[in-house]
Subunit: 309 residues, 2 copies
């Protein structure tokens, strides 16, 4: 038998965690970035912008989690073909690695239509499912050498090619650009832009009072007329004429586009799929990070754009 012959031992790897720095010059310091995208629908514009990212691609790993639905199957096929194309294209455009997870849980909503997704009674189950998907993706792809995690939803169809360097330059533990949407203004007969993501906010006394009166499993949701919170929404702070570099401190964040220092996640910050201080998913994540002494910031005048269905 060959089993007693000396063979090359299986991999033993040693990591000094302080080598995975998180600096204002990530590319200069060879810092690895993990771009994580929960993916239910594939948009070509997302991919086209992704491959235009100027951060060195050999320092970028991509991670996807895709639901086991018919729509998920289509998204998976579309993603696959783009990945194959990019990873066999010019060497300097290839990403370091790509991980694609197929979820084992069912999607709690049958349809992905925006009108269904955003119904208030559907939000808790939906956001809990999204939180679990994000956690699964995060827990299984974050490595000991990852410096940054860039959360980027699949329906973010327009963002600057320098987004990683731009956001990292703030040296913030957690930082979110402002997520807008292009639309056709019927009155003006012209394209215009409008706020899309209401999950980036600064807390308010009203929201705190609402939370104090809630049952322990109840959650506060943002952007519903039935439950005005009077939080200061970053989406409403956009000022075209102001400095693009303006930074505000946030208490809740969205996950549409979000740069996170890997140490924040490594300390344990995840996306609570349950009511955490009456918050859930990405908003609960900001709160949990805060409990771990990591602050969240937002850039009201730095825009990324969400697909318009």
């Amino acid at each position: 038998s060959k089993s007693n012959e000396p063979q090359k031992p299986p991999p033993v790897v040693h990591y000094y965690m302080n080598n995975a720095t998180q600096t204002r010059d990530p590319a200069g310091n060879q810092e690895k970035v993990l771009i994580l995208t929960p993916l239910a629908r594939f948009y070509q514009e997302y991919w086209d912008n992704l491959i235009k990212i100027t951060y060195p691609h050999d320092l970028i790993s991509l991670g996807y989690i895709i639901p086991k639905t018919k729509e998920g199957n289509a998204a998976y096929a579309a993603l696959q073909s783009q990945v194959t194309k990019t990873q066999s294209g010019p060497k300097n455009k290839r990403f370091a690695s790509v991980t694609i997870l197929r979820q084992d849980t069912e999607n709690p909503l049958q349809t992905q239509l925006e009108s269904e997704r955003h119904k208030m009674e559907n939000q808790k189950a939906r956001r809990a499912a999204m939180a679990k998907a994000r956690n699964s993706l995060l827990f299984t792809t974050l490595g000991p050498t990852t410096s940054w995690v860039m959360w980027l939803d699949a329906d973010i169809v327009e963002f600057p090619a320098t987004i990683i360097q731009d956001l990292a330059d703030y040296d913030a533990p957690i930082i979110a650009p402002n997520c807008f949407q292009r639309y056709y203004d019927e009155k003006k007969k012209a394209m215009d832009i409008r706020p899309y993501d209401y999950n980036n906010w600064i807390d308010s006394p009203t929201a705190k009072e609402l939370a104090a009166k809630m049952g322990k499993d109840d959650i506060l949701l943002e952007g519903y007329a039935e439950m005005p919170t009077y939080r200061s929404l970053m989406a409403m702070m956009y000022d075209q004429s102001a400095d693009r570099a303006t930074k505000v401190k946030l208490d809740g964040v969205g996950g549409a586009a979000l740069l996170v220092k890997a140490d924040v996640h490594r300390d344990g910050a995840m996306f609570p799929p349950f009511s955490f201080y009456h918050l859930i998913e990405t908003e609960g994540f900001a709160k949990m990070a805060h409990r771990l002494n990591w602050d969240s910031y937002g850039l009201p005048n730095y825009l990324v754009y969400h697909y318009n269905e």
Copy 2:
């Protein structure tokens, strides 16, 4: 330049998460087990028992996190030499992989002496640091193909070689053996055993009342006369004459030895380094898992032994 030549594309990996099953016959189903050990001191007996584990070693990955202290350096050197020996020894005894992380944070306590470690005023900072160490280790080593996570402290110096199969056979999301300690009984002039780990418990009305009156950042600790909780401690349920298979439902668990289905962690269950329902670290983990609809169990009559300093 060679950069335009077609080359082998970087790894693109696809995982179907429902392939990472967690069954009562883990070895039969080729389920991968990740053994995670936070390590401040190395004990040869721990390693001697680890390599005697009968679960197929090619399905086992080991993960360590070691503090950046003088004591940690010594533990690292001792671990290294044993790892090298095992991984270059007989092929069927080698583990699939070994990951060793050196922490970048300082240990909040100068000494690791049990008397210092267990002082009540030191517990919160210490357990918060332990929780972060466990989270770092977990978040960076858990992979998409991991089926089970076996938490095993480095000072668990005696445990059955069949521990993985034995615990998995209960098909429980989270399951803890009872952690005892051997000692010399001066009166009997003979070796005897006594309970060691008080973190495996069933909640009590007294503990709930204490918690209800606490400040939001305060934590309940178990095993301190100053703060009697009247919880039912699994450590006190051991009955030598009873069935070794007896299983009880737990509300708090310890991390000395603990088998966890990987899906529990993937859903987001981690070790809270902050007060979570007035619980912290492994006890907080059981509570968080419970919020994610995963139950914890314990085996009062299945013993593992902690080192006696």
